[in-house]
Amino acid sequence: MKHYEVEILDAKTREKLCFLDKVEPQATIAEIKNLFTKTHPQWYPARQSLRLDPKGKSLKDEDVLQKLPVGTTATLYFRDLGAQISWVTVFLTEYAGPLFIYLLFYFRVPFIYGHKYDFTSSRHTVVHLACICHSFHYVKRLLETLFVHRFSHGTMPLRNIFKNCTYYWGFAAWMAYYINHPLYTPPTYGAQQIKLALAIFVICQLGNFSIHMALRDLRPAGSKTRKIPYPTKNPFTWLFLLVSCPNYTYEVGSWIGFAIMTQCLPVALFSLVGFTQMTIWAKGKHRSYLKEFRDYPPLRMPIIPFLL
């Protein structure tokens, strides 16, 4: 069996960083990354990007050396992706924050509102309802992160955790401040509005969860396979007939429900910002599906049936 030689150069400076001899032809990029880490321990595999061309795309961990368009002496270019953090860690942190922060405002912990309001309780039912909904939403997200989602990527750049937490925690504090304020004004159309909005919220939460479960079942544990999602027996998943990312559709719906229920402008703004971001993601995902699968259902739109 002929062994390969692999030399790793810095993509920017072309400096020779590492030379590996006697590499098995069936070695994967993941294995090569592990070998590289031995000589440069500060660059753990998750922060390595190896490519065939200094400006080209990153090779995948699963790629096999002998299947790449290289001679028996392969030249790979290395790019440092920067400090990495696991997706699970980021999700847990960014979701635990809002859960905790909202409760600080709900219980009117001192130094938020005037001292005469410390630890008092709102006399509006909708305020208590809102706390239950908001808390349920983030508990659901935490549990899904731990038990439901199957992530394609292991890590993301460390700086993302600061960006993401600022966004989630900041908005949570801003919303919670007004909803739990002693001068909070309940919805204009009273119980009717609250009931309708709550129904929307609950339906969309169930819908969102159903989609997460359906997506999980598409992908066996530990794998990174991608398949076209289709409706299942669960009626909530029938939205797959019309959109590529019904999980985002339901998520926007949940927040619209919450906004109507609380009649709070900051909640509406949060919904709008979230909708914008999720639309960008949905369009990207939709495009990936179209590129990867010839037979992708033509009726589907990225996030809003028939429209967007």
């Binding site: 992706l81 890590t155 909070y184």
Partner: protein, 249 residues
């Protein structure tokens, strides 16, 4: 903004500032785009020149800065507001600058003109107003004439020199003028409660313009050095041909 769920790897490079290629190669522009941009930049150069001359004439005739803002405000508002078009130029791609950077720069000018000097009349005669007006005027005349000559492929060295040297003084002077003006406006904002919404109200939101201004002033601290050092780096690249490898992209 939460990072992409779909792409865990490094997000798109964020542009710290100005044009990607200052005075060197330009992208191939269509005839219509070139014609329009040339017209636009000539018009803006002329506009700010008119403003400069009006300011000088006022001071020569009256010997004071009091009333100067009032006399030039219409011209200032017109030419500064029209600059919003530059955001569109970036969106449609005829100018190779980031939409975000241009948006921030133009917005901060619009903010100063409409939400500070126009809306808070008592501070219009502050000296700090003249400070930033002079800084803006010289900066814009230099900038727009630089763009004009670049488009005509006939850039005199002194214009390039001015573009990449004047800012060294003008930037800090302009920032000082803006900050001092906002600071002077604070007591009037607090007393009048302008642009503010209080609780309780139907939409359960509040906004305090006074605190908003304090936060705006604080935001100069991280933002100004970044912009300033970016211009310094551009200057070294353009004027001294230094090759600068960015830390990461």
């Amino acid at each position: 903004m939460a990072s992409s769920e779909e792409d865990g790897t490094n997000g798109g490079a964020s542009e710290a500032g100005d044009e990607k290629e200052p005075s060197g190669r330009r992208r191939r522009l269509g005839l219509a785009a070139t014609a329009w941009l040339t017209f636009y930049n000539i018009a803006m150069t002329a506009g700010w020149l008119v403003l400069a001359i009006a300011m000088v004439r006022f001071y020569m005739e009256k010997g004071t800065h009091r009333g100067l803002y009032k006399s030039i405000q219409k011209t200032l508002k017109f030419f500064q507001t029209v600059a919003l078009i530059e955001i569109v130029h970036c969106i449609i791609g005829i100018v190779p600058t980031s939409v975000l950077v241009t948006g921030v720069q133009v917005s901060s000018r619009i903010f100063m003109v409409w939400l500070i000097t126009h809306s808070i009349k008592p501070i219009q005669n502050e000296e700090s107003v003249v400070l930033f007006l002079v800084s803006w005027t010289v900066t814009e005349i230099t900038r727009y004439s630089f763009y004009t000559f670049s488009l005509l492929d006939h850039l005199p060295y002194f214009v390039k020199w001015a573009r990449y040297n004047f800012f060294i003084i003008l930037y800090p002077v302009g920032v000082a003028g803006e900050l001092l003006t906002i600071y002077a406006a604070l007591p009037y904002v607090k007393k009048s409660g302008m642009f503010s919404i209080r609780l309780p109200n139907k939409y359960n939101v509040s906004f305090d313009y006074y605190y908003f201004l304090l936060i705006t002033m604080a935001s100069y601290i991280p933002l100004f050095p970044q912009l300033y050092f970016h211009m310094l780096r551009q200057r070294r690249k353009v004027l001294h041909g230094e090759v600068i490898v960015e830390k990461d992209d």
